[in-house]
Amino acid sequence: MSAFNLEQEKVLESWTQRYPASIMGLVEALRQVQQWHRCVTDEDEEYLAGLFAVPRSRIHEVATFFQSFTRKPTGRHRIGICRGLSCSLAGSKEMCSCLEKKLGIKEGETTADGRFSLETMECLGACDQAPALLINDELKGAATEELVAKLVEELK
C-alpha cells in the first residue's frame, strides 16, 4: 500500500520529469512529502526510492541531511527562531524562552495537540529585521512578545 494517494503520486511523478535528470527532482519531492505528512517516514522513503530508482540508502541520506526534513511529525505550524548573530544580538534567546513559555514546550518539541512545533534555525537572511521568525513558509521579522502572542492566538 502506497504512502500516498493517487493525486499525490501524480505530483511526485511530475518531479521526476521536471529537470534534465530524474533524480534532480528528489529534494523538491521530499519537500512536498514533508509538507503533506509533516515528516518523511520509512514508507515515504521506500516509495521515493522506487520512484527515483535509487537505493533507499540514498533517500535516507538526503532526508536526514537537510534540516527541512524531519523523521517525526512537526506541528501544523512549524515555528523557527533564527539564532544567527544579528538576531542573537537582538534577543532571539529571549524570544525563544518567551515562545517556550507560551507554547508549554521546549525548543525541539511539538505540542501535545500537534498544533505547534518549535525549533531554532540558522540565519534566515532577515538580519535587517532581527529578531526573525520563520512560521512554516512565512518570514516574520522584527518579532516582539506581542507579535508572538498574537500569532499563537491566531494560528490553529
Binding site: M24, E61, F65, S86
Partner: protein, 420 residues
C-alpha cells in the same frame, strides 16, 4: 566627493519594480537586447574589461569563470548556468532584497550569462526558507516567458533558454558551488574536490557556470555601458559597485550599495551609525565567515584586495556592527556553533574541529573556562585551517583566532588563569 549612481538599487523607490512593465519602462531588458545583437565575442570583451568579481563571497572573476567553459564544438551537449540564491551566510540578506525588489534584473543578467556560454537551460537555486522570493521569481518568470524573454527564440533571436527554479532544504553548505550542484543532483550537499571544476564538469557532469544573484544582476549594466566604465567605478582589480547588508547594533539596518573600495566607515555612517549612540566595539565586514575588525580599523577600503592587509576580506558584504555590550566570546561561540551545526561532516578536521570549538567556547561562557583553553583554541584553529575540503572548515579555524587576537581581554575574562 560625489558618489556615482547606484546600479542595482537605483530604482528601489519604485514600488512595482518587480513587475515586468515597470522594469521595462525603466530600461530593463535593454541589456539583453544589446548582448544578443553584439554577439558573444564582443560581449566577452566587455566582460573581460569589467573586473566583475563573484559577489557571493569568493570574488572569482566572472569573465574568467565564463571563459573556462569549454565551447560546444569541443564538448557537444548541454551546458548550464546556475544562479546561487542559497544566501545563508549570517549577516547577509542582499540577495533576498534583490530578488524581492528586482527579480527581472536577475533574470536579465542570467539570460546574458547563458547566452555568453551558449547554455540553453538555466536554474535558479533558491534557499528553501525564501518562499516569498520563490513565488516572486515564479511570477516574474511567467511574465518573462509570456513576453518572449525566456524560452524559445528570445526576442526573436536564434538564442533559446529555459529557466527553472529549484528550492533548497535548509543547509548553509548548499551555498558552496559544488555542494549546490550536489544538492541539485539529489544528494547530500557534500562539496566536491576539483578538478574537475564546475565549468568543466558541473551539473550532471556538464559544463556549468555557478554565479551569485548579485553578480548576475550587474551584468546588464556592463553590457549597456561597457566593461571599462564598470571597472572604473571600483578599484584597480574590483570593478563596479557592491551591496552591503548592514545589521546588528546599527540605527538603520538594510542594504546599501557603494562602489568597490568605499571605506567601511562610510558604509557604517550611511546606516546611521551605532544604534542608540553607543560606542562601537567591532565590525564583522563580510558575513560571519570573515575575520573581525576593531573600531580602529574602519578606514579599510572595501574591495576584494585591501581588507586582506588587515587579515580579513570582503566576502559577501555582510556588515555586522557590534557595540560595547557585545562580548566577543559570545560572538565566537555563536559563529562556531553555527559552523558546527552546518558542517556537512565530510572531512574530519571541520566536522570534529567545529564541534570542539563550540564546546570549549560554551564552557567558557558558562564559567568553566581556563587560560589553557585559549592555547587549545589557537592550536586547534591552526590544525584545522588549510587542512579541509572547503572554506567552511577554514572558517572554523580562522574566526575564533581573529576574535582572540583583536579582543584578548574578552577572552581573558571568560578563560582566566585558575589557581590549583
Amino acid at each position: 566627493m560625489s558618489r556615482p549612481d547606484p546600479l542595482l538599487t537605483k530604482h528601489f523607490d519604485e514600488t512595482r519594480l518587480h513587475e515586468l512593465e515597470t522594469f521595462r519602462r525603466l530600461g530593463g531588458y535593454e541589456g539583453l537586447k544589446k548582448a544578443l545583437a553584439m554577439g558573444r565575442e564582443a560581449l566577452m570583451a566587455e566582460m573581460n574589461k569589467s573586473n566583475l568579481r563573484g559577489l557571493g563571497g569568493a570574488g572569482f572573476g566572472a569573465a574568467m569563470k565564463w571563459s573556462t567553459v569549454i565551447p560546444e564544438a569541443k564538448n557537444p551537449g548541454p551546458r548550464y548556468v546556475v544562479v546561487n540564491c542559497d544566501e545563508s551566510e549570517p549577516g547577509c540578506f542582499k540577495d533576498r532584497v534583490l530578488v524581492t525588489r528586482s527579480p527581472h534584473a536577475l533574470i536579465e543578467g542570467l539570460l546574458i550569462a547563458a547566452y555568453a556560454i551558449d547554455a540553453q537551460r538555466a536554474f535558479i537555486f533558491i534557499r528553501g526558507e525564501y518562499e516569498l522570493q520563490h513565488r516572486i521569481l515564479q511570477k516574474a518568470l511567467d511574465e518573462a516567458r509570456a513576453a518572449g524573454l525566456v524560452g524559445e527564440h528570445i526576442l526573436g533571436s536564434g538564442f533559446s533558454c529555459a529557466i527553472d527554479l529549484m528550492r533548497g532544504a535548509g543547509a548553509y553548505i548548499s551555498g558552496l558551488d559544488t555542494a549546490l550542484l550536489e544538492t541539485m543532483e539529489g544528494k547530500k550537499a557534500w562539496p566536491r574536490q576539483p578538478p574537475p571544476f564546475p565549468t568543466a564538469a558541473g551539473l550532471m557532469g556538464r559544463p556549468t557556470v555557478v554565479n551569485n544573484v548579485e553578480t548576475l544582476s550587474m551584468v546588464p549594466h556592463i553590457v549597456l555601458r561597457g566593461g571599462e566604465w564598470f571597472a572604473k567605478l571600483g578599484t584597480a582589480k574590483s570593478g563596479g559597485t557592491v551591496l552591503f547588508s548592514v545589521s546588528g547594533h546599527v540605527e538603520k539596518p538594510g542594504v546599501y550599495e557603494f562602489p568597490m573600495g568605499t571605506p567601511l566607515r562610510e558604509i557604517l555612517a550611511a546606516a546611521g551609525g551605532v544604534k542608540g549612540g553607543k560606542r562601537l566595539k567591532a565590525v564583522i565586514p563580510g558575513g560571519v565567515s570573515t575575520p573581525v575588525l576593531t573600531a580602529d580599523e574602519l578606514d579599510i577600503p572595501m574591495d576584494f584586495e585591501a581588507p586582506r592587509a588587515k587579515g580579513t576580506f570582503l566576502g559577501a558584504g555582510g556588515v555586522i556592527v557590534l557595540d560595547e555590550t557585545a562580548d566577543m566570546v559570545m560572538v565566537a561561540h555563536n559563529i562556531e556553533r553555527f559552523l558546527a551545526h552546518e558542517s556537512c561532516g565530510q572531512c574530519t578536521p571541520c566536522r570534529q574541529g567545529s564541534f570542539w570549538h563550540e564546546r570549549i567556547l560554551e564552557r567558557g561562557l558558562s564559567g568553566g573556562g581556563t587560560a589553557q583553553d585559549l592555547a587549545t583554541l589557537e592550536r586547534a584553529g591552526e590544525n584545522i585551517t588549510g587542512k579541509v575540503i572547503c572554506a567552511l572548515g577554514d572558517t572554523v579555524g580562522v574566526v575564533t583566532r581573529a576574535l582572540m587576537k583583536k579582543f584578548p581581554e574578552d577572552f581573558k575574562a571568560k578563560f582566566p588563569e585558575r589557581r590549583g
